[in-house]
C-alpha cells in the first residue's frame, strides 16, 4: 500500500491530527433524517453513522476512494459506542426505518462489539433496520440473531462492481464477486433483505467504461438484491482517488452518466428498486455536469429514486450533454489524457 496514505490510517491518527482529536469518541459521526420508500410508502428514516475504530480492510489497505476512516477514532471502546447509541436514541423519536452505518462493518465484532450490536437492535430494531457490512462477516448465525431481533432487517453490502478486475484494480476491495453472492444468499436465506451499493467510476476507468461497468454490475447483482444503490464517486480526503484527482489523472463522473446508468440499469433491474443519491452531486468533488443543469438533473435523480419511473429522469436539455457524448466516444484513445470539458463550460 502507498506510504503517503498510511499517514491517514489509524496508526498515524492517535494524537497527531488536532481536527480529528477534537471529535469525541462518545458522539456519532453524523445523524440525519430523510425520506425512504418502505413497502411502497414514503416513510421518514433515521440515519446514524457510528464512530468506530475503523474498517478492518482500511487497516490493511483500504479502497481507493473511501475516506470514511477519516471519521474513525482509534480510542473508541465498547462503552463509547454504547454511549453514542444512547445519545441518538435520546435525541430522536422512534422511526419505522433506521439505517446504521459505521466506517466499516457493523457485523465485524472487532469494530462493533457484540454488546453494541445487540444494543443497537434493541434500541432501533422495532421497524426496519439497515446495517452495513463487508461480506466476510456475514454468516448464518449472526444473520439469524439480527433477523430475529428486528422487525425487518436490511443488510447493506458494498459490492461496488461485479467485475473482479475492477474490484481488484480500480476499487481494491479485497474480495471478489462470489464473496458477495455468498453473503447475499446467506442473508436472504435468513430472511433479510439485501441492499447492494455499487460505485460509479472508481479510478482508472474511462467515463464510458465506468458506465458499462455499473450497468453490467446492476444486471449481475439484481438476482441477489432487493435494492441497488448507485453511488457515483465523490472525492474524499486522503484517498488515492483524491491524489489522482489533484494530479489531473481522475475526474468524477458526469451526472449524465448517472442518468445513463439508471436508464440502462432499469432494464436489467427487475423486481429490484434502483436508487441513487449522489453524494456532493453537482459540486466539484462529486458527480457533476456543466454547472447550469446540475440542480435540475439532481432533482430528477432523486425523484426517480423515490418513484422508480425512468421517465422522470432528465436526459436532455443542456448543451453539455454533447460534450459528455463526445467523451464517451473519444476518451479511450487518449490513454488517460482526456480533458475535463466541464471546467471549460463552467468558465
Amino acid at each position: 500500500m502507498l506510504k503517503r496514505f498510511e499517514a491517514g490510517k489509524l496508526k498515524g491518527n492517535d494524537g497527531g491530527d488536532d481536527r480529528r482529536r477534537k471529535r469525541s469518541p462518545r458522539s456519532p459521526v453524523a445523524t440525519w433524517t430523510e425520506q425512504e420508500m418502505v413497502d411502497g410508502k414514503q416513510t421518514p428514516c433515521l440515519s446514524i453513522v457510528l464512530r468506530t475504530r475503523g474498517c478492518s480492510w482500511w487497516q490493511k489497505t483500504g479502497c481507493t476512494f473511501c475516506g470514511y476512516c477519516n471519521d474513525a477514532h482509534p480510542g473508541v471502546g465498547e462503552e463509547d459506542m454504547l454511549a453514542q447509541l444512547d445519545s441518538v436514541s435520546d435525541r430522536f423519536d422512534a422511526h419505522d426505518f433506521v439505517k446504521i452505518y459505521t466506517s466499516g462493518s457493523f457485523l465485524d465484532p472487532d469494530e462493533v462489539p457484540g454488546s453494541v450490536q445487540r444494543k443497537a437492535v434493541e434500541l432501533f430494531g422495532q421497524g426496519r433496520l439497515l446495517v452495513e457490512s463487508r461480506p466476510e462477516y456475514v454468516n448464518r448465525s449472526s444473520m439469524d440473531e439480527l433477523v430475529s431481533g428486528t422487525g425487518s432487517l436490511e443488510l447493506a453490502l458494498g459490492l461496488e462492481s461485479s467485475s473482479n478486475e475492477v474490484l481488484k484494480k480500480s476499487v481494491r476491495k479485497g474480495f471478489a464477486f462470489k464473496d458477495y453472492t455468498r453473503a447475499a444468499t446467506t442473508a436472504r436465506e435468513a430472511g433479510a433483505r439485501v441492499r447492494t451499493y455499487l460505485i460509479l467510476k472508481p479510478p482508472f476507468l474511462t467515463e464510458s467504461g465506468a458506465v458499462d461497468d455499473t450497468v453490467r454490475s446492476i444486471k449481475d447483482a439484481s438476482p441477489y438484491s432487493d435494492v441497488i444503490s448507485v453511488n457515483p464517486v465523490n472525492i474524499q480526503a486522503r484517498t488515492i482517488t483524491e491524489h489522482l484527482w489533484r494530479h489531473g489523472m481522475y475526474a468524477t463522473p458526469w451526472l449524465w452518466s448517472v442518468v445513463d446508468v439508471l436508464v440502462k440499469g432499469s432494464i436489467h433491474a427487475k423486481d429490484v428498486r434502483l436508487v441513487s443519491s449522489p453524494t456532493a452531486g453537482g459540486k466539484s468533488r462529486g458527480a457533476h455536469n456543466c454547472g447550469r443543469c446540475d440542480r435540475r438533473v439532481m432533482d430528477s435523480i432523486s425523484r426517480f429514486s423515490m418513484e422508480g419511473d425512468v421517465g422522470l429522469l432528465e436526459d436532455a436539455g443542456c448543451d453539455c450533454r454533447r460534450a459528455w457524448n463526445a467523451q464517451l466516444v473519444l476518451e479511450d484513445g487518449t490513454l488517460g489524457g482526456y480533458p475535463d470539458m466541464r471546467r471549460d463550460i463552467r468558465d
Partner: protein, 580 residues
Amino acid sequence: MLKIDHRDGAGRSGRLGCGLSIPNVLVPRMNGEGELASPAEMEPLIHQGDEKKPLIQTMLQDGVSLCLEKGTDISAMDDVLEGRSGYDTGGSSDRDMNDRQWHVNWGLAGETDVRSIPFAGVLVQRPAELLARIISVRGGDGHNHPVHLPGVHQAELYAVYTYAGADIFDGSPLVAQASCGRRIPHPGEPEMEPTDFQPALKHNLEVARREIETVRRALARGVLRELAETRASSSLEAMTVLRHLDCRFAPQMESISPIARGVPMKVPSREALSRPEVSRWIDRIRKRYTPPPSAKVLVLLPCSARKPYSTSKTHRILSNALDTTGKRRLLHEVIVTSPLGTVPRELENFYPAASYDVPVTGRYLAEEREMIRSCLSRMVDSGNYSSVIVDLREEWEFVEDILPDAVNVCRGHPTSRESQSGLRSAVIDACQEMKVPSKDQRHRDDMGSLATFQFGQGGAVLAEGCTVKGNPFQRRLFVDGDQVASLNRDRGMLALTLRGGELLSSRQTHRVEIEDFIPKGTIFCQGIVNADGSIRSGDEVVAVHQGTVRGVGVALVGADELRGLDSGPGIKTRHHARED
C-alpha cells in the same frame, strides 16, 4: 518500417510502411453527418497523395484496460503514486526509466508499432516528466517507432514536442473542445469566441493541420529549432518544454542533434543561446580543444557580421595588418563572439562558427558576458601564451579584469588606422625575441587543434608529424607519405582517407562496427552492429569489421540511432577498402 526523410534535433519527418506520414495528428473519423463511431476510429489528419488511409483502432476497447493491462500493470501504478519514482528524473531514476516500459504499444494497420505514452495528456502539465518519458521511449530500439502523445492536442506544442522526439499528436481533445463550441486559437494568437460545434470543429482541425504542416516544412528546411523557439516565445508551456530540453535534457539533445546543418544558425532570442549546437561548441572548446603550441601570442579579435570571419571586410583589414608584421605564425588569433564565446581562427569554418547570425547591437546580455568571460579565461589558461593583445571595443569593458596583462590596441573602431598601427606595433613588441615557427610547423599545429576539436584526443594522431599541402581552400594532410585527411573550407572539418581511418580507429574513436561486407555507397543501419558513443550526425566515421577498416564516410545519424535503427541509411561512404 519507418522511413525518415528529414531530421532536426530529435524531430523527424517521414512515413511509416503503412503510408502514415509523420509528424501527424490522429483524429477521430466522422461520417458525413459529423457523427463519431463508437469506439472512435482514428485517422491521420494529413493524408499524402493517394496513400491507403490507415485506420487505427483504439487499443482500449473497455476502460478497464486503461494503462493497466498493456505495457504497465497496477504495480507500476503503485510506484507512480508512491513518490512517482518512475516519472521523476530529478533523482537517480535512470535505472527505473530503463527497467520499466513506459509506453503502450498498439498496432497501426498491422505494421509499425506506435508507442503511446499513457497519461501524456495529463503529463503535459508537468513537462519534465513527459519529456523524460519521450526520451526514454525514443532511446535505442525506440528510434524505429513513432512516439504518440495521446491527449496532447495543443497546436502550439507540436513544434517543441516534435523537436523533443514525439511524432504523433492526438486530435480527440480538439473534437472535445469543439463539442463545447470552443475554438482553439492559432499558435501565438489570442483566444477566440465560442461558436457552434461544426464550425468549431472545422476550425480546430484546420489549426492543427496548419501547424503540423508548418512543423513539417520546418523539418524539411532544417529550421525546426527556430520554429520551436518562435512557438516558445508566445506559449509558456512551449517555453517550459524548450528550457527543460536545453538544461535538464541537454546531454540527450546534444547527442541527437547534428554536428552541421545546411542552414545558418540564427540566434534571435535568449533561448537560442542555450541550443545544443551552442552548448556543444562551448563544451568542446573547454574539454577537447588545445591551442596550437607554436602560437605564443594570443590576439583577441572582434567578430564580424559576415561568416566565415576571414571573408569579412573587418577581418581582411586586420589580417592585412597582422601579415605586414611578418610574425603572424607566432600569433593565435581568437575571435570573441556571442553566443559561441571564443572561435580560434583555425576553427572558423567549422559549423556553427562558419554560419551563424545574431542581432548585433554592441550590447551584451548578462549571460552572454558571463559566458564570454568564462570561455576567454579558459582559453588564456589553456595556451602557453607569453602575452595577450586585444583589439576589442564593446567587449573590452567586461573582459578587461580577467586579462590583467593584456594590451588593448583598439582606438575608436577595431579597424581604425590607429587600431591597425597599434596592433602592428604591439605584435612586433610582443614577438621581438621570438623565433617565428616554420610554415609547416604552424600548419601542423593548427591541424592538430582542429583534429582534437573534431575527434577528441584520439584525433591528434592525424596531425602528429604530418605534412600539410595544398591551398587555404583545400588542405591535405600526409603522414609518412600517405594522405590521411583533407580539409575542405566549405565544411571546415577534416575528411578522412582510408589511411586516416586506420589511424583513427587505432585510437578507438569514431568507429562504427559493421557486418562483414565492403561498403560501396551508403551503409544501411541493418548492417551496423555498434557505434562509438561520441559519433554525431554529420561526423566523419570509420567503418570497421573485426578490427579491419572497411571504409570511411559521414554518419547520417548519431551514435544512438546508428545502434538502434533497424533500417534506413546510416553512413555515406567516401572511400572503401579494396575487395580481395
